[in-house]
């Protein structure tokens, strides 16, 4: 069994408390993760200023170069696992797959995503800083267009409570090292691999190990990381992250509720966009917050739902090493059954004369149960639900390809969508599009038939890491 340690400012530490995660398919014990106790985390985090000083002393240009080297190391090198073992790129792919169920092909695509953000980190940061010369971070003072600028770090470390859904999400915090910010990471319980590999890649690239903390721990430990670090990010379900909603120093990444909207001018053209919709729903096994979980149209909803269900019915479970595999089995089969039961429960008309209709359009297309056991795992098959806008299933997100198809009058869009991480607006009508540009509900807007899962790295995603970590101060000095 693989053993993963805690990294206490870079120093490996084997805990007495370990959590053993089984292989998704064989159910055999696969990896034992040392668990950090609450007090140990607090004690270590009393020393955040030291690693921050180490990074501050490194020129930003050197850190950019280190990120480039780290990108290559992440993608190609055999790296330490923190304790005694090592991990080749193929080991990494198989290990992520073993504990999350993700097909190898999906893991590789996510690996490329992490590589992309590190290898093009200056482009990413230029997008976040609007082209600021990062050398300003070395002295805290610089100029842009002849004006003096000064920035200061809002914290001595960034604490991040990470998810297990998909490795690509780690692209969001990975540039923090280049921004001279020590990282304190709580890995997801089923995906400890990617944050550890990113750390090891940075270390191989020459970044001091002592600027990284890696603390597998429980929810209380994760909250302690967020409380103790000056800045934080948390990924999680609504219930587990709501306590941080009111804390501006913590960025909350909850469900995306991403959507595709077909405008009235494009309504009759819906068939042209079925592949884009299916891609948005099923890419990465439906495991990302940028996956579409709703298709909102102004007409033809039944036909869109039928066509989409037929298209997604082609997405079936395959072996983990099948290059065409998309779906991931659930680590705990009971979770799949509970999610399916929740959907079935909501499909049933409520008592008391509730007439809001909902229909599992995929039921006929797949010709069997939503939950299937095959290839050594338990899967949820893609599900398209046709329902009204106020139905409980209209605005839901699950860890598999799921989408509602909802028909609403055009004048209700986009107000009726509710908070949405990504909205793809298919319309050539400038006035219709302008409403989306003005909407407070839309975090990331794709104008035109762009899949919701297509990310432009020069754009901030669900918050701006640079602005989260740095603040600008007014400055003037005698010439």
């Amino acid at each position: 069994m693989i053993e993963l340690p805690i990294l206490r400012w870079g120093r490996p530490y084997q805990s007495v408390d370990r959590v053993v995660v089984p292989h998704v398919r064989t159910r055999e014990p696969f990896v034992a993760m040392s668990q950090a106790n609450h007090g140990l985390i607090r004690r270590d985090l009393l020393r955040q200023a030291e690693p921050r000083a180490r990074l501050q002393a490194m020129p930003a240009a050197d850190l950019v170069a280190a990120a480039h080297r780290a990108a290559e190391a992440f993608l190609h090198d055999t790296l330490p696992l923190g304790g005694s073992g090592t991990q080749s790129p193929q080991d990494y792919v198989e290990q992520v797959s073993a504990t999350t169920g993700m097909p190898w092909a999906s893991v590789r695509r996510n690996m490329a995503k992490v590589h992309g953000v590190l290898s093009r980190v200056e482009e990413v940061l230029a997008g976040l800083t609007r082209g600021l010369d990062l050398a300003v971070l070395d002295s805290g003072i610089g100029t842009a267009d002849g004006r003096m600028l000064s920035f200061f770090a809002r914290a001595d470390a960034l604490g991040v409570v990470l998810p297990s859904n998909s490795p690509g999400v780690h692209s969001l915090w990975a540039p923090a090292t280049v921004l001279k910010m020590p990282l304190v990471l709580k890995p997801g319980s089923a995906e400890p691999w990617t944050p550890l590999r990113i750390i090891q890649a940075y270390v191989k690239a020459g970044v001091p190990a002592e600027v990284f903390g890696y603390y597998p721990t429980d929810h209380a430990g994760g909250n302690e990381i967020l409380r103790s670090c000056g800045r934080g990010m948390v990924f999680g379900a609504v219930a587990s992250t709501k306590r941080w909603k009111a804390a501006p120093r913590v960025e909350v990444h909850g469900p995306g509720y991403s959507k595709i909207v077909i405008g009235p001018d494009a309504a009759d053209d819906w068939e042209r966009h079925i592949d884009m919709m299916a891609e948005s729903i099923a890419n990465n096994g439906g495991r990302s917050c940028v996956n579409a979980s709703g298709i909102w149209v102004t007409t033809h909803a039944d036909r869109v739902a039928e066509a989409l269900a037929a298209r997604l019915a082609q997405v079936t479970p395959r072996a983990a090493d099948d290059p065409d595999a998309v779906l991931a089995p659930f680590a705990d089969p009971a979770t799949a059954h509970r999610i399916s039961a929740t959907i079935d429960q909501d499909l049933r008309p409520a008592e008391g004369g509730d007439t809001r209709a909902a229909r599992d359009v995929s039921a006929a297309a797949r010709g069997g149960e939503r939950v299937v056991s095959t290839h050594g795992g338990t899967y949820l098959l893609p599900t398209v639900v046709r329902c009204d806008a106020d139905h409980p299933l209209a605005n839901r997100e699950f860890l598999f390809p799921y989408a509602s198809v909802v028909q609403v009058p055009a004048d209700q869009l986009p107000d009726c969508l509710g908070p949405s991480l990504v909205v793809t607006c298919v319309s050539d009508d400038p006035r219709f599009r302008a409403r989306f540009v003005a909407s407070r509900h839309v975090d990331r807007l794709n104008v035109g038939a762009i899949p919701t899962t297509q990310i432009g790295w020069d754009q901030p995603h669900e918050g701006n890491l640079f602005e989260h970590l740095y603040a600008r101060r007014a400055i003037q000095r005698l010439a």
């Binding site: 668990q35 004690r43 009393l46 998810p163 409380r227 999680g236 979770t335």
Partner: protein, 362 residues
Amino acid sequence: MPAAPAPAAAELSRARAALDRWVRELMAWHFGPDTGSPFWLDWAARAGWDPRREVRAYDDLDRFGPFQDEWLRGGDARRWVPKGYAGRPVYVFETGGSTGVPKSRINIDDFRIDYATFSDTLPDAHFPKGADWLEIGPSGPRRLRLAIEHLAQHRGGICYMVDLDPRWVITLIKRGDIEMVELYKRHVIDQALTLLKAHDTIKCLFTTPRLLEALCERISLRKAGITGVFCGGTEMTPQFHRFAVEELMEGAYFAPTYGNTLMGLAGHKPPEPGDHWAVIYYPPAPRAMIEVVDPDDPTRVVEYGATGRVRLTTLTKEFFMPRFLERDECERERPCARYPWDGVRNVRPFSRFQQAVVEGVY
């Protein structure tokens, strides 16, 4: 499993015989018309059998069935006072109570007896006789305040106190107001630091795991002159045990404990390398017994090393509580030379949570 020296068979038999003898003595006391409590005398009248005749050994206590938690919540606490103690001053100590009616247990001398007995398990080199104590922890309706004070006095010292209200902490946690929890914790630790600076005779400390961590974030125990730490009140994991000894104690002795108002106080087994920092406790037999039972069949004690639910039986002349199922689970531990009866390993909250469906992709 640890390689602690096992007690001889004769030692086990002697301990068991003493337990059985004590049980018979207690049945005569608690069910004697002149000495028993109104609660148990009434219970026996309704049960239709006489424990004085039919309970001859500890195992026979199974006949009582599980002790009902609700019996201790509310009503006149005097119904629990044995007639044999009529006229004696009675304390009532509470447990639980964050929501709803707390459980109450009457006390006359039990807390003094329990802590005087426990005192014998503390090494004098680290808990010096005559040294003063500091208690940072719950007082109010709990017996802990009087008990720690008695422990200090029993060992020739004085006990200084800083109060913490755990019900308020639980309320704050339920509200998600973690910053207020931190503020309150700081308020408590500030007071403790003031006392430590003001009284250099304090060498012994009682506190909870979280407060110990918080204290050690602010001071060095060694520089503060603390040589022994008695720690309990909430769950302690093996990793916390190791962390406390390796990183917080700085040479001070760490004595973890498991106890509550209903049972009394369990002694700890000093850690050995083979224990892997497991926190191992032994009940203060014959005054209380802890057993580890099958959660689905609480009459069945699990095998050694197996996990089960904690079942308490309290056997004092003040309080009789047979077969009470605690809200804890642990592993069953073999007897050892120091304690020739069953112990428990790694006690932690008992939970069989129904998992909710997680909304979203995370």
